[in-house]
């Protein structure tokens, strides 16, 4: 609104035609409320993805987190190199939020490899890293649900290399979007970050702006 006020002040100073001012007000308000730096990237408010968390509790995403800001990261647990960086960045965000006493934020890590990442596997992944799950859920689900979710949020996942064990079991690796996203209290994606390289201060400031 500061911007709108400034424009008005300038217009009055210039003693411009009042009709012109009346025309200008709505336009400036629209520009402001859309938030040039915070466009709505995708609206998930009408979506109901039925998922399950690390404790096998059913979770409807994003509905169950309404009225909370969501920081969401996309991972698969067979990835020990890039995905742990994303997970670690989520941990750093969590620590900073608690230091700054910002409490209305939910952290979510979603697996895009649900055939491998059962709730128990996700639970182990969090436990072995001593993660604080107080406001952090690790979610997985039916493959078709996860596929439609990743498609909707713009995370691309492509099956690539694999490793075959001696007993014939095979695990796959994925080429995937390196992503953390910020979702507002109405379930709309407002900003994309590179998951493994996110600037912690940047997202904390963005969260403050959305609060």
């Amino acid at each position: 609104m500061d911007f709108a006020r400034k424009i008005l002040k300038i217009m009055f100073n210039l003693k411009l035609n009042k009709y012109f001012i009346l025309l200008t007000i709505p336009t400036t308000i629209i520009i402001n409320s859309c938030g040039k730096n915070f466009p709505v990237i995708e609206d998930l408010s009408k979506d109901k993805f039925l998922l399950v968390n690390q404790d096998s509790n059913a979770v409807i995403f994003p509905e169950n987190f309404k009225n909370k800001i969501i920081v969401i990261g996309y991972i698969f647990t067979n990835c020990p190199d890039i995905c742990p960086l994303t997970t670690n960045n989520m941990r750093l965000i969590q620590e900073k939020l608690s230091k700054e006493m910002i409490s209305d934020v939910q952290l979510i890590s979603i697996s895009f490899d649900p055939l491998q990442d059962s709730p128990a596997v996700l639970k182990d992944y969090a436990t072995i890293r001593n993660l604080n799950l107080k406001n952090w859920d690790f979610l997985t689900g039916e493959k078709s649900t996860i596929d439609s979710l990743t498609k909707k949020v713009g995370v691309v996942v492509i099956k690539s290399d694999s490793t075959m064990f001696d007993d014939g079991r095979k695990i796959y690796y994925y080429v995937h979007t390196d992503r953390i996203q910020l979702i507002d209290k109405e379930g709309r994606i407002r900003k994309n970050y590179i998951g493994s390289k996110i600037n912690i201060d940047e997202i904390i400031n963005d969260i403050k702006k959305l609060e």
Binding site: T127, D161, I194
Partner: protein, 148 residues
């Protein structure tokens, strides 16, 4: 005469030069990620080559995991990341090669047990020219201490 020199040089190579090679490649700053049984970890370290000739890391062996592979993480367009197995890591003469998150790493695939912060992992590294090196790698969640 020339033949004799060749033979002597050859014997010298077998007996001494190998030893010198192995002393001139060293490993520092090693660590591996914690991970649970059946899952994967990654090991990282810096290879120092003080030789005036290049070498390659061609294999890593460990009994901690079902499979051990040399991997590299790569970036494609649109912020996409992937990783793939590679055959070797080149180590140029008089250089340091860093294995680090988001780049080169040793994949420990299908861990035989949980590895957490007080554990360590044994790794045997085989080179094209230098003698193999056995290292003991501490398990650390190193990123906890160094936000970037």
């Amino acid at each position: 005469m020339f033949k004799k020199i060749l033979i002597v040089a050859f014997i010298l190579e077998l007996t001494f030069v190998n030893k010198i090679f192995s002393q001139s490649i060293t490993i520092k700053d090693s660590w591996a990620r914690p991970a649970s049984k059946g899952r994967n970890s990654a090991a990282y370290f810096t290879i120092i080559n003080k030789n005036s000739f290049g070498d390659s890391l061609v294999q890593a062996i460990s009994n901690i995991a079902e499979k051990v592979e040399i991997h590299e993480t790569f970036k494609t367009e649109n912020d996409m990341m992937g990783m793939r197995a590679i055959k070797f890591i080149s180590i140029p003469a008089n250089s340091e090669v860093k294995l680090k998150p988001g780049g080169l790493h040793i994949m420990l695939i299908g861990l035989k047990k949980n590895i957490t912060e007080k554990d360590s992992v044994n790794l045997k590294l085989k080179f094209k020219r230098a003698k193999e090196i056995d290292i003991k790698i501490p398990v650390k969640d190193i990123m906890k201490k160094m936000p970037h």
